[in-house]
């Protein structure tokens, strides 16, 4: 446990010292929200801002999480990983700390988005609803960062990994239910959107916004997250004989 918190502390300090990174990671989603939520003259639903906010939240977690596999990869390339692996700290705490750090960082960004959304006219929700949204976002964050870390460990080469993330992020976003309701999509898009993991998290958050508790979605998300996390653990152990 001590190991996990120390590793998280290290990554956190390194993140906040890297100011451009912090600012861009906060400005970009905010810009999306302002641009898509306010500037686009679309009227799929009554309050489009309420509709788009879950999409932007999940996208933020996605972009924050998907590139994060490189965090572990850089530690490996720069020789930090070997130093840590030669210590008596349980080795898995390195992996756990990376996944937790990325998820927590995603939640910090999500908080900014939620604040801006309310400021520019999204409906204010009750604390339980916000709690559920955070839970869903956290699970999704763990899901994405474990996935990304697994791919990074597997590819073991920074250029291929960067190509992979670029290839995955945008298509995943545009084929999800983030921007428009299923009813407004062409059938082929709707079919893809229904199996897109992003839609899964987005729909769950919309359900929360609409006043229900999406128990099934949360349980399923938990199951998928666990599977990917176990897979990440397996690949990590194999990569660090």
């Amino acid at each position: 446990m001590k190991g996990v918190t120390t590793y998280i502390y290290r990554d956190f300090i390194r993140w906040i010292r890297y100011r451009v990174g912090v600012i861009s990671s906060l400005v970009l989603p905010a810009a999306w929200l302002l641009f898509v939520g306010l500037a686009l003259p679309v009227t799929f639903t009554g309050n489009y801002l309420d509709f788009i906010t879950p999409g932007i939240l999940v996208m933020t977690i996605l972009t924050a999480g998907i590139s994060s596999g490189s965090l572990l990869m850089f530690d490996k390339i720069l020789g930090f990983l070997n130093k840590f692996l030669a210590m008596p700290v349980p080795r898995e705490s390195i992996l756990v700390s990376k996944i937790l750090f990325i998820s927590i960082r995603g939640l910090i960004q999500a908080t900014i988005i939620l604040l801006i959304a309310v400021l520019i006219g999204a409906t204010l929700l009750n604390p339980l609803q916000y709690g559920l949204i955070y839970l869903i976002l956290f699970l999704f964050g763990v899901f994405i960062s474990a996935f990304s870390t697994t791919i990074a460990l597997y590819l073991n080469d920074h250029d291929s990994f960067a190509a992979f993330t670029a290839m995955v992020t945008m298509p995943l976003f545009f084929t999800s239910s983030a921007l428009m309701p299923y009813s407004s999509m062409p059938t082929w898009l709707s079919a893809i959107a229904h199996v897109n993991p992003l839609s899964f998290a987005i729909d769950a958050i919309r359900d929360v916004g609409a006043g229900s508790i999406p128990v099934v979605s949360i349980v399923l998300l938990l199951v998928f997250t666990t599977i990917v996390a176990v897979l990440a653990g397996y690949v990590f152990r194999k990569a660090t004989v």
């Binding site: 190991g3 120390t6 020789g79 130093k83 692996l85 030669a86 210590m87």
Partner: protein, 318 residues
């Protein structure tokens, strides 16, 4: 209990045999593993620090097997890798604190202060590590490695890329550590350093130990004097009784001889007769460089000749 003990330690990468049948016993001393690039030094260190699984053989650190009991091994070692890994956006103190917390030592703040002082980093402790010189970063890494008072420290090329003063400084600190009963296992390219500071050295060539012993015994194994000849153009081999070819680096060729003064004119004649154009000759006592050159040989040397050389080495060791 012996700090480092290996038996037939072997590592293959596919067809390549990076380390072959390493038998070592190192205890409470500074042991230097010397060898040219790609000879298997880092691979050896990685196996001993539980970071790489060997193909064959076994290694134990302070009595714990590196494969069967890796956690116990990691409890008694520190490892400083070849490439300097210091968080440059963190201060020296922050870098140290992270290690102190990870090792879970009782008074992290005090211990960090103490070690920063030992490594003469106190006045720069709160500056970002990116403002440190190479030598300071190395000292910071050494300080990190000392945080939990390990019994064995592995240093992979601790002085590479440092200037003479910084190297001497690092060595002073390493010497201090052994005085407290620690075992230091280090690799280096610098013969003069190994000669001066290591209690024992092993010369590794293509994954095999080619010579092992204290620097002075290894030098004594060579004949008494060394004659270095600078020639112009290609070297045409010569045979002269009582002299032996050691190796060639660039245009200078070394021979060992029983009696330098007498051999000097004879060798000059022999060289001229076989058509060499001698520019200069000098006579000196053998250095570890000569031992190294003789054990490792030149990469471009014809195969048969090197095998002969290698057997000569083996003969002398037994």
């Amino acid at each position: 209990m012996t700090a480092i003990l290996t038996e037939g330690l072997t590592k293959n990468f596919g067809d390549l045999c990076a380390v072959e049948g390493l038998d070592l016993s190192v205890d409470k001393e500074i042991f230097g593993l010397l060898g040219p690039n790609g000879s298997g030094k880092t691979t050896t260190v990685l196996m001993l620090t539980t970071l790489l699984a060997q193909t064959k053989g076994s290694a134990s650190i302070c009595g714990h097997d590196t494969r069967l009991d890796p956690e116990k091994v990691r409890d008694c070692i520190s490892y400083v890798p070849q490439d300097m890994a210091v968080d440059t956006n963190l201060t020296g103190r922050e870098n140290m604190l992270i290690f102190a917390w990870l090792y879970g030592i009782p008074n992290p703040k005090d211990k960090v202060d103490e070690l920063l002082a030992v490594m003469e980093l106190s006045d720069r402790a709160d500056d970002l590590a990116k403002t440190y010189s190479g030598g300071m970063r190395r000292r910071l890494e050494l300080a990190e490695a000392l945080v939990h008072e390990p019994e064995v420290i592995f240093l992979d090329e601790p002085t590479i890329g440092l200037d003479v003063a910084a190297r001497r400084n690092i060595w002073t600190h390493i010497r201090k550590m052994t005085r407290k009963g620690m075992t230091i296992f280090m690799t280096t390219h610098y013969m003069d350093e190994a000669d001066q500071y290591c209690d024992r050295v092993g010369i590794i060539s293509r994954g095999k130990i080619a010579a092992l012993g204290t620097p002075s015994t290894l030098k004594a194994h060579l004949m008494k004097d060394v004659i270095t000849v600078t020639i112009e153009g290609d070297y045409a081999p010569v045979q002269l009784d009582g002299s032996m070819f050691v190796g060639q680096s660039d245009d200078s060729i070394s021979f060992t001889v029983e009696n330098g003064r007498e051999a000097l004119p004879l060798l000059a004649d022999a060289l001229k007769q076989s058509g060499n154009r001698v520019k200069a000759m000098s006579l000196r006592e053998p250095s570890l460089d000569d031992v190294f050159l003789q054990s490792v040989g030149k990469q471009e040397e014809p195969k048969g000749f090197e095998e002969f050389k290698f057997h000569m080495m083996l003969h002398r060791r037994h």
